[in-house]
């Protein structure tokens, strides 16, 4: 797990702990402790469990999300809910005199308020997610599997692409697509001259550049090493070659600045494209494009 986001949430974390301590001091300050034998431990476990798990939810929220309105609303909502749950649990330990009985009367109100705030937060989260989905377009289609994402480029890996192609090949209506393979030239040489971490950075930039040159309906994945694979829906060979040529031109004009010397390094790439044919299997079409690409590279 990565806890780096936690450091950005100082305010929210102090609010959460503030809520815990207010609930604690209200209950134990106003009430009198019950006799040991009067405590119902089953209730303590049930109600306490809810409070603790709400705290765990707040934790996951804070380690996963950067600060912002949605995070704020969700955390505040959960905190209110947790406030009620805590009061409910502390109830089991203390007994309120008549003057403080109001506390147990109102203990469910913060939970309701919290749920309202959270609902508003979830609505905003939904809107945020729609925006993020459009940002992810051309990186993924229909299916989200975060463990298939490549660490370096944050594109999906070859297995994801294989799954998508297999889905398309299932029905003849969707089987008119093209596959393009792109391979950087002399990437090994670049790695040797400037180091592997610079090579990784270059791959990341190139993948951004590839995405920028694709249509909304296309998908790009990292195949292996410095090889990328594109899936172009409803595309004939001519158009596929044109799109690949545009990417090649874009990469050719990318003046990548190295970290050590700051000099501009230019790159070229080689590509091969082919369309799906009837009776194609995933491996047969990928193999065909790969062989073509290797011929281009050798020739």
């Amino acid at each position: 797990m990565n806890f780096s986001l936690l450091a950005q949430h100082n305010h929210l974390i102090s609010i959460v702990f503030g809520v815990v301590s207010i609930a604690f001091s209200l209950s134990f300050g106003l009430g009198d402790l019950k006799a040991w034998a009067d405590i119902s431990w089953l209730d303590v476990v049930g109600e306490g469990g809810i409070a603790v798990l709400t705290l765990v939810w707040v934790f996951f929220l804070l380690v996963s999300r950067p600060p912002g309105r949605v995070t704020r609303l969700l955390t505040l909502g959960l905190s209110c809910y947790m406030f009620s749950a805590l009061l409910d649990m502390f109830d089991e330990f203390v007994h309120y005199a008549d003057a403080s009985a109001w506390l147990s009367m109102i203990e469910s109100i913060p939970a309701l308020m919290g749920m309202v705030v959270m609902t508003w937060g979830l609505y905003l989260w939904h809107q945020e997610q729609l925006i993020l989905n459009t940002q992810l377009q051309r990186r993924e289609v229909s299916l989200r599997e975060h463990d298939q994402v490549d660490f370096i480029t944050k594109l999906y890996r070859a297995d994801y692409m294989r799954g998508q192609i297999a889905n398309l090949l299932k029905s003849p209506e969707t089987a008119n697509f093209s596959i393009v393979m792109l391979d950087m030239d002399d990437f090994d040489l670049f790695n040797r001259l400037y180091g592997v971490s610079e090579g990784d950075r270059l791959l990341r930039e190139i993948s951004e550049l590839i995405l920028m040159n694709l249509r909304q309906s296309d998908l790009a994945c990292r195949y292996a090493g410095d090889r990328f694979i594109l899936l172009l829906l409803d595309t004939d060979l001519e158009l596929a070659n044109e799109i690949a040529e545009q990417i090649r031109a874009a990469v050719k004009h990318l003046a990548f600045k190295t970290k050590s010397k700051g000099n501009a390094v230019y790159h070229t790439l080689t590509f091969a494209a082919d369309i799906a044919q009837s009776g194609d299997k995933v491996d047969s079409i990928i193999g065909r494009v790969n062989r073509q690409l290797d011929l281009c590279k050798e020739g």
Binding site: D150, F151, I152, A158, D188, V196, A224, R227, N290
Partner: protein
């Protein structure tokens, strides 16, 4: 006379070589350093000191952990690309200053412990092909596949670096096609076969004479001089050497050559993850594949080469070793 050999629990491998490359690679892919090194007995300070040495067992454990912790399938292949030319010292120099590919491979097979310790190879030639038949030198167990991937990639990337172009190596792997076939294609090329009876790499014989651009006899001789210190072969390799050259036939005879009691010898074999019978079978299997598949001899000739008096007996033995009959093997 048995050459000095290395066991999997002897400290020998400089920590700043393979281990350092692997640790760097894993860390750059987001792996936690402490998790990676946990229970390997390797300390990050050792790597930086440049003087610490590790055992084969420690390296294998590290490989296992890196493989499990690193996301994606390219760990072995990325590692392979970093092996040559790295800080392996004399062996890198000797290879780089060789006269041609044939000489470089010969040096590698002699001094493989210095750069590719887990795998050793024999070079066979027929009329137009050269075959490298590869074996486990130190008992790698489940890590053998990872190491095959890494060192195959290293061979391809090193030859590309030296010649400036890819040499058409044909790879035969003894295991079924993995799901991440794209890494094989990208790093080793398209000439790859899976589910083969033995592990081998073949290429056109003409490449043996392909001259190296940095050839220098004096630099090479100097490097070889430095290489001659210390053990040159892994324990399993040493046992197979005795069997192959018929210095010994039984476990007792071989133990005697190693100056060990049969019980200790057996225990040592077990420590390297195999038994005497397994090694014997593996050797016979490779001989059978060599005569039948690579040399294309018929059953009678092959049986005679392998000292079988009886053809049906030979057929049965081949079937037991490889799962294929001699005629199927010849067609493969």
């Amino acid at each position: 006379m048995l050459r000095q050999y290395l066991c999997c629990d002897e400290k020998f491998f400089p920590a700043h070589q393979l281990a350092a490359s692997l640790i760097d690679l894993a860390i750059s892919h987001g792996v936690d350093r402490h998790k990676l090194l946990r229970s390997t007995g390797i300390f990050y300070e050792d790597i930086k000191s440049g003087t610490a040495t590790l055992t084969a067992q420690q390296l294998l454990k590290l490989v296992n952990q890196a493989q499990q912790l690193m996301p994606g399938y390219d760990c072995a292949f990325q590692l392979g690309r970093r092996i040559f030319p790295s800080n392996y010292g004399a062996i890198s120099n000797a290879v780089q200053h060789s006269r041609n590919l044939g000489e470089a491979l010969k040096l590698l097979s002699l001094f493989h412990l210095k750069i590719c310790p887990f795998i050793y190879g024999h070079i066979y030639q027929d009329n137009n092909k050269c075959h490298l038949i590869l074996n486990d030198a130190l008992g790698c167990g489940e890590q053998f596949k990872f190491l095959i991937e890494a060192y195959s990639t290293a061979l391809v990337s090193a030859s590309k670096l030296i010649f400036g172009k890819r040499i058409p190596f044909h790879f035969n792997f003894p295991y079924p096609c993995p799901s991440y076939i794209q890494e094989y294609e990208e790093n080793l090329g398209q000439r790859i076969c899976f589910s083969q009876p033995i592990l081998s790499i073949s290429f056109d014989k003409k490449w043996l004479k392909e001259p190296f651009p940095y050839h220098s006899n004096s630099l090479k001789t100097h490097a070889i001089h430095q290489l001659k210190l210390g053990p040159q072969q892994g324990f399993l390799e040493a046992v197979c050497f005795c069997l192959r050259h018929k210095y010994s036939h039984t476990l007792q005879e071989t133990a005697k050559l190693f100056a060990l009691s049969p019980a200790t010898f057996k225990r040592k074999l077990k420590q390297h993850g195999c038994s005497f019978q397994e090694l014997q079978d593996q050797l016979r299997k490779q001989q059978a594949v060599y005569w039948l598949q690579l040399q294309g001899l018929n059953n009678e000739e092959s049986a005679m080469k392998m000292k079988f008096n009886d053809i049906p007996n030979f057929r049965r033995a081949v079937k037991r070793w490889t799962g294929l009959t001699p005629s199927q093997l010849r067609l493969k």
